[in-house]
Symmetry: C2
Subunit: 322 residues, 2 copies
């Protein structure tokens, strides 16, 4: 479950008193989300989401995340938007943790991905990139190529090989390849960096917005696309679905045309994104505390995706007509 | 977490189409509850609770539970009330499980119990018993004295002693004592049988209703009080709080006066209730599957409560002036 910190009714009542959000009717922990504790609170105005930021989110990054949500919402991109107290505060403390209330984004994340979802996602991602273009704050990507080596060094090779024979050597070889071939410069901006289906809401196949900006950072825009290719365009059996890849890329380009350099870099960015999630999942898999109430995500799903991208010759293999 | 069954957006949309509940805006798994999967769904009318009944609830009991909620709600006792489809169905199927939508009860359960909570609880419990008095359906208590022996037999004595040295012998002795001294007849009716603080909601110290009727059954009314004495009237350190016991019992009696036989039986009923929760917690503690995403409840909390009740001489020790 995704509630790590218990909030008492008394504490919550005191906390809510600082906002003009009407009378508190209910507060229930939400079973989704992995990093933070999330509660759905209902007042006589509306539902809201209350988030308590847990250990894995660095407190000093929170003004960036909350500022980004406010910025893109101001630009008309729908997302949960921080609610301020009467005194103007968005980031506060509750039950010993940094805490914020954000508006309630309607919709549900899609369990079965269709081509139409990928079209909507591609357009929305390009609009998100446009909305974030003049966001004044920056944040380095804490899980980019320079961080994968140190993360890999924290994983015991034998334990990695217990997950799959030969895995440690495969990762080492891929890391070396990526370091030697990683692009040197591409269009940069604010990226979401974790745009999995459970972070994109739809109502009757209409995309209502993005959630969970807690990996957002300043990086190459095309890296966000590479993450989406991994997260949205494979079947559960590991096979790539070209119509979804095409839908995603064409829809993105209907808003912002990719440069030649970006198109050429897509396969290697997709390899990098696959390795990034392979590494973090592998680390979590091996270091999963026995009492943790979070479902472990299969690292080998990303090994299979990586192996697809390793065979890709150019962006045409993702479904695009070059 | 309390979501064992995943519901896809497509399945949910089809399921919701049978109701007149407005347009579905959101559905989020709730991190509370242990037995079933609960979702908070939001439509443009209101929030509702969707419950998928999991293995531990017997499907044949569901008409009793849902019928009870409807019955007491009709009598004016606030509780989640089953919502019927346009065709009049309350109990349906979703994602391969029995499922029902109930109305959303506002309020939160109290994390820190006060005397005032116990007063409100006592009155509400007596009103609940009155509301259930003419409920036509009956259901035997599946966790009553006759069931404790067979449950204890399923617990390995050595494993029990690993939890606390001598525990198995203590339980055997208590079981023998209870069998020899259990009352033979007391006023009967519909009881909740699981009225822990997390099943009672309050808004600003006003009790808004009870939830979670999935242990409700036909049994002695005073046994419900005995469960509440255990669940509401002890400090976390294991000490009994007489002002809370008095508040609970006096408030209950302000609505329905306990008979002499009930008052005399309270200490042994409280011992029985303590043993019932000691046994089920101990069984769950020992048989906890490693992957289960539910916090284990400490069985020894109920051993400490049991040992208090063993020293009680009469209902006066619960704070009542006799």
């Amino acid at each position: 479950m995704a509630v790590y910190t218990e909030v008492s009714d008394d504490e919550l009542r005191d906390f809510m008193a600082a906002y003009d959000l009407g009378h508190l009717l209910s507060c229930k922990g939400i079973a989704e989300g992995v990093e933070n504790s999330n509660f759905l609170i209902v007042t006589d105005y509306s539902p809201f989401i209350l988030t308590l930021y847990e250990k894995r989110v660095h407190e000093e990054d929170l003004p960036y995340f909350l500022g980004l949500m406010e910025h893109i919402a101001d630009k008309g991109f729908t997302c949960p938007t921080p609610v301020r107290t009467r005194e103007g505060e968005a980031l506060r403390r509750l039950a010993g943790r940094p805490a914020a209330i954000v508006t309630f984004l309607t919709g549900m994340w899609p369990r079965r991905i269709s081509q139409e979802h990928c079209t909507a996602l591609g357009q929305a991602l390009a609009r998100f990139h446009a909305a974030g273009a003049d966001f004044a704050m920056t944040r380095p990507n804490a899980l980019s190529i320079g961080d994968w080596g140190p993360l890999f060094a924290k994983i015991d090779e034998e334990e990695a090989d217990d997950v799959q024979h030969g895995l440690a050597a495969e990762i080492a070889a891929e890391l070396a390849f990526l370091k030697a071939n990683w692009p040197t410069d591409l269009p940069r901006g604010t990226i979401h960096a974790d745009l999995f289906p459970d972070n994109v809401f739809f109502e009757n196949n209409t995309l209502t917005g993005f959630i969970d900006f807690y990996f957002a950072c300043t990086d190459w825009l095309a890296y966000d696309i590479a993450i989406c290719l991994n997260a949205w365009c494979f079947e559960p059996d590991g096979s790539f679905v070209p119509v979804r890849g095409r839908a995603l890329l064409q829809a993105y380009q209907s808003v912002r045309k990719l440069t030649e350099a970006e198109l050429a870099a897509l396969p290697i960015l997709a390899r990098g994104a696959a390795l990034r999630f392979l590494l973090t999942r592998l680390y979590d898999w091996i270091n999963h505390p026995p009492g943790a109430m979070v479902r472990k995500k299969d690292p080998l799903e990303y090994r299979r995706k990586l192996s697809f991208h390793q065979r890709v010759k150019n962006a045409g293999d993702y479904g695009l007509s070059l």
